[in-house]
């Protein structure tokens, strides 16, 4: 996948039929297949803990993260598999992490919610809703403190916008941004629900971006199912934030096709019809159709991609399955720097 990251960063809207866009489609198909595999492996008991998949939201990760430079950095919540995949982490290591293996991205210590891959710019993977927003804000400050023009990306859900640390992070980002010292892009993964609570029921005003603007941070809503739209905004915003050192917020309107987590089977908070309706706006379908219509992508091309994706997922599963569990003494490693 690392190779793909490199190539996809060259994708532009000016060349909608460039090979990068088929790479992105391939990547999104892969993410989908990967996530479906994790759901299966969870049911098989190979994956434990909480498992939150990104199915339906893929364009929000792919459309923005491919607009980054290799030395930029990313923070996310617990719904974090797609982000690492796009950034180029080894899918085998991600799967091994979910299997709790020593070869996992976080040595089997973090699990699904705490993927971590500093080498690829991914700084986690956090389980306390909203808890990582302040971290990302501080990290962005550090990038500027060091005099670089790197930027920081911070993903979070609509539900995370109700917790205090969201607000403290926004104000500090806004304040530091006023001095050009906070190159951060906040990405709201607005999928309409915080677990089983819809936006109207969890936020007094449903225009969530209004709270971000109250901290002097410009915002922009985008159709998170349409990767061309997402990528278009991302290219511009990344450039701007890199130049100005000021924060920006992208609110991506999206939808999660699966349950909140693997345990969310009944989904009493939404109807089957609602879910089905949203599936018409599957981000993979939208990109695929576009490429078919405009660039002559064929069904066979897609089949090849799917076959490739299944093979890659199988490799990742095999790697995870065959990897050893962590050794006993690793229990005490990594608590502190000296052991």
């Amino acid at each position: 996948m690392a190779k793909q990251k490199a190539s996809t960063t060259a994708a532009t809207l000016d060349a909608p039929c460039g090979p990068e866009w088929t790479d992105i489609l391939r990547q999104m198909i892969f993410i989908r297949r990967f996530e479906e595999a994790t759901e299966r492996e969870f049911r098989r008991g190979k994956i434990g803990g909480y498992l939150h998949v990104y199915i339906g939201q893929e364009a929000v990760a792919s459309g923005i993260l491919t607009a980054l430079r290799k030395d930029d950095i990313v923070f996310a919540g617990y719904r974090d598999h797609a982000h690492t995949l796009v950034l180029g982490s080894d899918p085998g290591k991600i799967m091994a992490e979910l299997f709790g293996k020593a070869t996992g991205l976080s040595k089997g210590k973090g699990g699904s919610m705490h993927l971590f891959d500093v080498e690829h710019g991914f700084y986690g993977g956090y389980g306390i809703v909203g808890g990582h927003l302040t971290l990302a804000t501080g990290a962005a400050y550090a990038l500027k403190y060091d005099g670089t023009d790197r930027v920081c990306l911070c993903y979070f859900g609509d539900g995370a916008m109700n917790i205090g640390s969201f607000h403290e992070a926004m104000n500090m980002a806004g304040l530091w941004g006023n001095q050009g010292l906070c190159p951060i892009i906040f990405v709201i993964e607005n999928n309409g629900y915080a677990m089983g609570t819809s936006i109207e029921r969890h936020s007094a005003l449903t225009d969530l971006s209004a709270r971000v603007r109250a901290y002097n941070i410009p915002t922009e809503k985008v159709d998170g199912q349409d990767i061309f739209a997402v990528r278009g905004v991302a290219d511009r915003v990344v450039r701007q934030v890199r130049e100005t050192g000021r924060p920006y917020c992208i609110e991506a309107i999206t939808y999660r096709f699966s349950g909140h987590g693997a345990a969310d089977v009944m989904q009493p908070y939404r109807s089957k019809e609602e879910v089905e309706q949203h599936k018409h706006r599957d981000p993979i379908l939208i990109l695929r159709n576009r490429l078919s219509e405009v660039c002559g992508l064929t069904d066979d091309d897609v089949k090849e991609m799917e076959a490739w994706a299944d093979e890659e997922v199988a490799k990742a599963l095999k790697f995870a399955e065959e990897s050893p569990t962590p050794k006993r003494d690793e229990l005490y490693d990594d608590v502190m720097s000296n052991g």
Partner: protein, 328 residues
């Protein structure tokens, strides 16, 4: 008496009190429409309506703080924390407000708020989602801290909480939700705070515990009896604040050996207070130092094999008992 799960015991206590007292209400994340991540509140929104069963935003400080305000005005709010791990963001509202407002107001307000939710290690929930909070809360005067180990206690103590006038931190063991036990039918059955109980009689060693570890201790005690002929007396503390160690003292006066069992990190954990108090009070009765069983002193790892290494097991209790009896 009827056999009930720990989960249903909690659920019933809430429902009975909500039926009895219109001033009881409950709030929490996804307790209404979603019916609760552990389904403890299933059906309650329908039954009591949105004014009494409040789905909140993800805002634990907001939940705890608004509940304190409601309580000061005479309501009896229950705050369900999805898990107690999330209540750390509400620590100031609990420790600096709920626990202190009666005192610094010179006693002008009652604060009958109940903050409840599951705690402890689950299966691979990793570092941020596996913690226990007895010592975290019980250090602070001004609150009751409760950790029931049985369905009967869960119900009886939750009822005490809901009829009292003070803040209660009600620490449920997620791992016990499915456990069944006899629960009295009397709707006025309550279990007072600050009264420990002898959960198993024995004469050779005293095991002191609470919550989920109490159940582990009982299993260990049966094994010790069967395999080694060692009869352990097991004390269930039930409440951490106020802490009633009288039965433990009496037991140690009989057995002269003592083991304390807690789930989480040993340093500055609940076991330290129990051990120190017992030694202080019945020093001359002790034939061996009080042993502590605790979890590994590391953030909880995700990998199942490491997680199991990090949490106390029966064998750890058995080994500690043998150390206390110098039988190692």
């Amino acid at each position: 008496m009827a056999e009930k799960s720990y989960r249903d015991a909690i659920r019933e206590a809430m429902i009975e009190e909500m039926d009895r007292d219109p001033r009881v209400l409950i709030m929490g994340e996804d307790i209404g429409v979603y019916e609760g991540t552990f389904r403890i509140t299933a059906g309650m929104l329908k039954k009591y309506g949105p004014k009494r069963v409040i789905d909140t935003p993800i805002a634990e400080a907001g939940m705890a703080g608004t509940a304190v305000g409601m309580a000061m005005l005479g309501l009896r709010p229950i705050v369900e924390m999805m898990t107690m791990n999330f209540a750390i963001v509400a620590a100031d509202q609990i420790l600096n407000h709920a626990a202190k407002v009666r005192y610094f107001s010179g006693g002008q307000v009652d604060v009958p708020v109940v903050i409840r939710g599951p705690q402890g290690a689950g299966v691979q929930l990793s570092a941020q989602h596996s913690q226990t909070f007895e010592s975290f809360y019980a250090h602070f005067p001004g609150i009751h801290v409760v950790a029931p180990a049985t369905p009967a206690d869960a119900k009886g103590m939750l009822k005490t909480a809901l009829r009292g006038r003070d803040p209660v931190i009600f620490l449920e063991s997620a791992a016990l939700y499915g456990m069944k036990g006899e629960v009295p039918d009397d709707p006025d059955f309550t279990v007072p705070f600050g009264v420990s109980r002898v959960a198993r009689e024995g004469s050779d060693v005293t095991i002191v515990s609470f919550g989920r570890m109490l159940q582990l201790s009982l299993i260990a005690a049966e094994k010790l009896s069967a395999d080694d002929g060692i009869e352990a007396e097991v004390i269930d503390l039930r409440t951490m604040r106020p802490l009633d160690l009288e039965p433990a003292y009496a037991s140690v006066a009989k057995t002269h050996r003592c083991v304390v069992v807690q789930e989480q990190w040993k340093p500055f954990g609940a076991g330290a207070e129990i051990s120190a108090s017992i030694t202080e009070t019945v020093f001359d009765e002790l034939d061996a130092p009080v042993e502590r069983v605790a979890g590994a002193d590391v953030p909880m790892p995700y990998a199942r094999n490491l997680e199991l290494l990090a949490t106390p097991k029966e064998e750890d209790v058995i080994a500690a008992v043998k150390r206390a009896l110098y039988r190692e």
